[in-house]
């Protein structure tokens, strides 16, 4: 029974009874004490207030009609005091008017008991109100627990939210990293693809160069074997059939051996030149020089018979010079003149013309030889290409024009041929003019 009224502690519920009639106090107090309650009593409103403040009873039974301070005033004061306002007050009264009852409720009373008092009624109402108090306390406790739980939950929610934010930012970070990694990878893949293409290209280029080299070696060895066949063959013939030959025949054979040896030697020189050019080992010193002077020197070195029909028209003022390599340009002029002489033989004539344009000086070497068919005009600058003309066979190495073209291009010039088949050819080359600061 006590448990039922306990207010959370193990102590029994305390009831304060305020009544000016000692008899009433004794009767109700005894009865309630028997029921297991702790009883406090006061015969005045003032004393009741003090006891209530000091001892904090769980419930107050309050008489209305008292001499010093009536129950209504006492209740008002109880309800006005922070420390006592939550203690339920049950009025005890002989008054039966509705106004009084209403007044009691208005002042904060929770119930009333009508005198003469019925014990069971008192007990029932006390129990009810203590239960209510108890419930309220429990509720308050639960509310505070709930508040705590709520706070905890809020914290938890905050923590979780923070964790979620953390997670989200990590996720974003991760996504960003994946994205940038993917981009990086695709860039790398692209770079690799490009590098691969470059490699493939380089590889093809190398294979091409390799093929060209192999072909070059095959062609070169073929070209070298031709004069060598003559040299070896004529020497062997001379040795084996010496006695069968007369002096002039012997001299012919010997001069053939000599001229073919020279041809072989020139061919080897040309092959070395080509090889240097192809290995980009072809560094030429570039400086200003007078192309007219070089032409003159080459012509003098040819030792042409006097009266040979070779004319030079130099239309360039003395001060205008070209920029290039004097020696190599001399070699080109020598090559072109050799070709021209080979084709005109002793019947035609050769004309050299030097002209200037805005940026270049152009040299043209014309012959009245057989000319070159249009389809062959570009091919003649290729290595080992020889004119396929049965009537006008050349006995050169097939390298002269290829070398000339490489030399001229290395100096920033151009070389080409203009020709009418049957009427002769003109080989042109240009070299950059020296810039004069007049």
């Amino acid at each position: 029974m006590i448990d039922e009224f306990s207010t959370g502690s193990t102590l029994p519920a305390t009831i304060l009874i305020i009544d000016d009639q000692p008899k009433n106090l004794a009767v109700i107090g005894d009865y309630l004490m028997k029921c297991g309650f702790t009883i406090l009593v006061s015969q005045t409103g003032t004393g009741g207030l003090r006891r209530a403040r000091d001892l904090k009873p769980d419930l107050i039974l309050l008489d209305i009609l008292m001499p010093d301070m009536d129950g209504f005033e006492t209740c008002r004061r109880l309800k006005a005091d922070e420390s006592t306002k939550n203690i339920p007050v049950i009025f005890m009264t002989a008054l039966t008017s509705v106004e009084d009852k209403v007044k009691g409720f208005e002042l904060g009373g929770v119930d009333y008991i009508t005198k003469p008092i019925q014990y069971e009624e008192v007990l029932a109402r006390v129990k009810t109100h203590l239960q209510i108090v108890n419930q309220k306390k429990k509720l308050r406790l639960q509310a505070s627990v709930l508040r705590k739980i709520n706070i905890h939950l809020k914290k938890e929610i905050e923590t979780r939210k923070a964790a979620e934010r953390e997670l989200q930012s990590l996720n974003e970070e991760l996504e960003y990293r994946i994205k940038s990694r993917t981009e990086e990878l695709s860039k790398t893949a692209e770079k690799l693809r490009v590098a691969n293409i470059k490699l493939e290209k380089a590889n093809k280029e190398l294979l091409k160069i390799d093929t060209i080299k192999t072909e070059f070696v095959a062609l070169a060895s073929h070209e070298l074997r031709t004069p060598l066949t003559s040299i070896l063959g004529y020497a062997q013939t001379l040795l084996a059939s010496y006695s069968q030959m007369d002096n002039s025949m012997r001299a012919d054979v010997l001069s053939t051996i000599v001229s073919e040896s020279k041809r072989l030697s020139a061919l080897i020189g040309n092959l070395l030149d080509i090889s240097k050019i192809e290995n980009r080992n072809f560094n030429i010193v570039i400086e200003p020089f007078d192309v007219g002077e070089v032409i003159e020197r080459v012509i003098n070195a040819l030792n042409l018979p006097s009266g040979f029909p070779l004319t030079v028209h130099n239309m360039v003022p003395d001060k205008h010079r070209v920029v290039g390599n004097q020696e190599k340009t001399g070699q080109v002029i020598r090559n072109l003149l050799d070709n021209a002489l080979r084709y005109v033989k002793n019947e035609g004539q050769i004309t050299i013309e030097i002209k200037e344009t805005d940026e270049f000086i152009r040299v043209g070497i014309s012959d009245t030889g057989p000319g070159i068919r249009p389809e062959e005009q570009e091919k003649i600058f290729e290595k080992f290409y020889r004119i396929r003309d049965e009537k006008n066979r050349s006995f050169g190495s097939g390298l002269g024009l290829s070398i000339a073209s490489n030399i001229i291009e290395a100096q920033g010039g151009r070389i080409w041929v203009e020709s009418k088949y049957g009427k002769g050819s003109t080989f042109y080359f240009t070299l950059p003019k020296e810039i004069s600061y007049e």
Partner: protein
């Protein structure tokens, strides 16, 4: 068919060299310097042996060899070639060549080779 040798070679010095050596051994021979000239001389003179260069100004030796073999399968074709590549030899074999001699050749070897194939 007669006992003569036809030399088809565009390098005049080499053609003359071969001709000189064969004639000193009393072998009749003639020289052509192009494919066309060579074919005409082959048909007119009916030689038993043809000494043939691979590179000619108007055709290559292989084509000429095929024509000669179609024309007269009995005639002997010997290639004189400066090309040492396998391919050249294979082409010559395909064209029906009987033998080869590589440039630069030993004159004695060339003469023995010609004698080996002479029938009369």
């Amino acid at each position: 068919m007669n006992d003569s040798v036809l030399i088809i070679e565009d390098e005049l010095l080499i053609a003359e060299l071969v001709k000189m050596n064969l004639r000193m051994r009393h072998i009749t021979c003639n020289v052509a310097t192009t494919g066309q000239e060579g074919m005409e001389m082959f048909e007119n003179q009916n030689p038993s042996i043809v000494l043939l260069d691979v590179r000619l100004p108007d055709t290559d030796g292989w084509e000429l060899c095929k024509k000669i073999k179609q024309n007269k399968p009995d005639s002997v074709v010997i290639f004189m070639t400066a090309a040492t590549q396998k391919k050249d030899r294979e082409e010559a074999e395909k064209a029906g060549a009987d033998d080869f001699i590589e440039k630069p050749f030993d004159i004695g070897e060339l003469v023995s080779l010609v004698n080996k194939y002479r029938k009369y």
